[in-house]
Symmetry: C2
Subunit: 434 residues, 2 copies
């Protein structure tokens, strides 16, 4: 274990040094490196697909679950899409070097706050070898080094991909050492303990996997374990909107974290709307569970207390009838995971109250919860969705993997001049952001 930790420490040290060389690179240099990476991946496609076939054959021998196998399997199409993704990251604006604040503190004493890379990212993912390409390109674009730890089952694929990435970077101004790959399970634990060397952990995988990571590291974690999203159909809902939004929020991609798990319906409209929702959802293959008031209207299984806290990630929906908007908000703030919650109503005041009082990263009015997504928000890339309270919260684009630093330019100023008797006053005058 000591040897392992030491060798990992060396890897981390090399990645950090390479990242320090990457940080000041221009957007043009970083984009050229991404293009070289894309071309090297294209050239290595036969090797990558062969390595992936080896992983898939081993996985089948070991009988891994079919959902995991589907994520592991890399087809020519999937590979091409991932390479196109590398080029689309190159096309995004550079998140580094943006002036966020520009202020004259006094004559000739000028403060700037400028976005800067975080340092080194630790990215741990299950299966999904295509994540290697996406994450390596996001890291390079944001000026960060990255230590990748893929799932055991994807070892050959990850090695082939990182080898091609290293080859591509080799001919550019960016050191290949900005991207490091770990392959053994023990290294995951060791990585989680490197809070001096790794600045942010990004887990990609199941809820239980993310929760394990969150509970076993002191490094900040970007991600979410739970996605318990709600749709509330208010007394003043337009059913022409409520029914398609319910169906879309539940079924458009039920395994997604932004799909709803619980439907809340106002008592005044329940008898009218529940049979229609029941019918529409049954057509879509959704099994409903309901509280007593729901069961009095539609023939469904009973929902228990546990259902309100369950993320089904499947075609199952819990339904509860509530007596008021306040009761709906209280239910959401009690059982929700702070991801995304929506109201359907024509009552503007009710919508405002809901959006102010529901404590979630996303509060939606008259649209599907499935819009909670970095691409749909126009961020170009999505690094993850965070349900933590502190920013970055909600869908996170490249801006979530950079930080900022304050640069103060003076002409010899000292603080003593601004203190005590005859203290000079500060100007604190904001300057244009160029």
């Amino acid at each position: 274990m000591t040897t392992l930790t030491e060798s990992l420490a060396e890897i981390a040290q090399r990645t950090r040094q390479a990242a320090q060389g990457l940080a000041p690179q221009t957007a043009a240099a970083k984009n050229a490196a991404l293009e070289a990476m894309a071309q090297a991946l294209e050239a290595a496609a036969p090797d990558i697909l062969a390595a992936n076939q080896r992983d898939c054959a081993l996985a089948q021998e070991q009988g891994i679950p079919s959902a995991l196998f589907a994520r592991l399997k890399l087809s020519q199409t999937k590979l091409e899409a991932a390479i196109a993704g590398v080029r689309s990251v190159a096309a995004l604006p550079d998140p580094v070097g943006t002036v966020q604040l520009h202020r004259q503190l006094d004559q000739g004493l000028v403060l700037k706050r400028i976005s800067a890379p975080l340092g080194v990212l630790g990215v741990i993912f299950e299966a999904r070898p295509d994540a290697v390409m996406q994450i390596a390109s996001l890291a390079i674009k944001s000026g960060n080094g990255v230590i990748l730890k893929g799932g055991q089952e994807a070892t050959h694929s990850c090695r082939a991909l990182v080898s091609a990435i290293h080859q591509g970077l080799g001919a550019t101004e960016i050191s290949p050492e900005v991207v490091a790959l770990l392959t053994s399970r023990e290294e995951t634990r060791a990585l989680l303990g490197m809070d001096q060397a790794v600045n942010l952990i990004i887990p990609r995988g199941s809820n239980s996997f993310v929760r394990f990571i969150q509970e076993n590291t002191r490094i900040p974690v970007l991600g979410h374990a739970d996605g318990i999203c709600h749709l509330y159909v208010d007394a003043a809902a337009d059913l022409e909107k409520a029914i398609p939004i319910t169906v879309d929020s539940k079924t458009q991609y039920p395994a997604a974290c932004n799909a709803i798990e619980t439907l809340l319906v106002h008592a005044a409209i329940a008898a009218q709307v529940l049979p229609q929702i029941h019918e529409a959802l049954q057509k879509a293959g959704v099994v409903l569970k309901g509280d007593a008031a729901t069961q009095a209207i539609i023939p469904v299984e009973s929902a228990t207390e546990e259902d309100w806290s369950t993320e089904y990630s499947d075609l199952i929906l819990a339904v509860r009838v509530v007596d008021s908007l306040e009761a709906a908000i209280a239910h959401i703030n009690t059982y929700g995971s702070g991801h995304t919650d929506a109201i359907v109503t024509e009552d503007r005041a009710a919508a405002t109250q809901f959006m102010n009082q529901v404590d979630a990263a996303g509060v939606f009015h008259n649209c599907s919860t499935r819009f909670a997504d970095g691409f749909r928000y126009g961020f170009g890339a999505e690094v993850g969705i965070s349900t933590q309270r502190l920013p970055p919260r909600g869908p996170v684009g490249l801006e979530g993997i950079v930080t900022y630093k304050y640069q103060l330019e003076g002409q010899g100023q000292i603080v003593a001049s601004y203190s005590g008797e005859n203290a000079k006053a500060f100007l604190h005058q904001d300057l244009p952001i160029s």
Copy 2:
């Protein structure tokens, strides 16, 4: 312990509920509450000072260190200054409700990112009863509930202060329950474990105290344990600037976290500048320690490896001669705490390289490190200074104790319309921020 945790859980629950009522309050209502608080504190001044005298008498009996005693002692002047501070927080712009992003995703589908309170702050401080007033006003202004835990030695003072605050709030639209006070030491531990109820911990105290908090909670902590700041005098330094900046950075307030602990001097200028710096610092009562190259020029004690990582918080300064700008940057990135580091040089390229490559919240050119401060940056109030990489980093104003939420307003839109064949395209058009 179970009873304690339970009662604390009840307090946290009440604070959270009160905070939910505070969150949607207007700036006017919050400012009126702050004014009422200031008036109640003025009216209760005799009680507060009497309570503080009781604490001071007990503290003297127990022989607490004089520095701690000085922080505990509340004079009429100190109380008046703190009450003026409450009113100055009222005068700051409201950090809640700011539109940070306004984007049309498609016709009639409009996204806004709006700043919002975090929820409940847990603030733990040593001695300093005046912190109660500052923190309670920052919490109310930012729409957050706050659970305060003062030092044992300030119990009577804190009770008298919070009692006055509660009385002041009693006559306003803000519930007095937004401010809660804990007084027993065991409650600190319990508070650190309440990661469901408390959203941010703000410790105020010594480095070891902050480190203890950081190492014993999973709740995000706003603050810093170390302030190991550097000043680098480059080969191209103007000595007319270098000497006063060195003196100011070290002596203007040596106990502050933004005072320098290590001076780095380029070898090419060392023989010229070190004697002058030595003389100026000796006049100011500073004891120097130096590496061998420094000792060859000025008669000082020898500095060891340990000195490079020591925050003296006192009139002591370690000095090292470096052969290059790169060596100075490497020293800072190895031993620094990422707080604030400065360069003195007339060489623009050297300054740019230093500011790009030094990894710290503040990188300064030709000015004192003592400028690293929320008030001097023009933030109006300083909640703390963070040396973590992720934002908020550096001096943190009110914006560091709020988060944001995404509000999406639709007219019945569903994601299915934007998927698959015949998918509608998103507009992603930024709208003016009003």
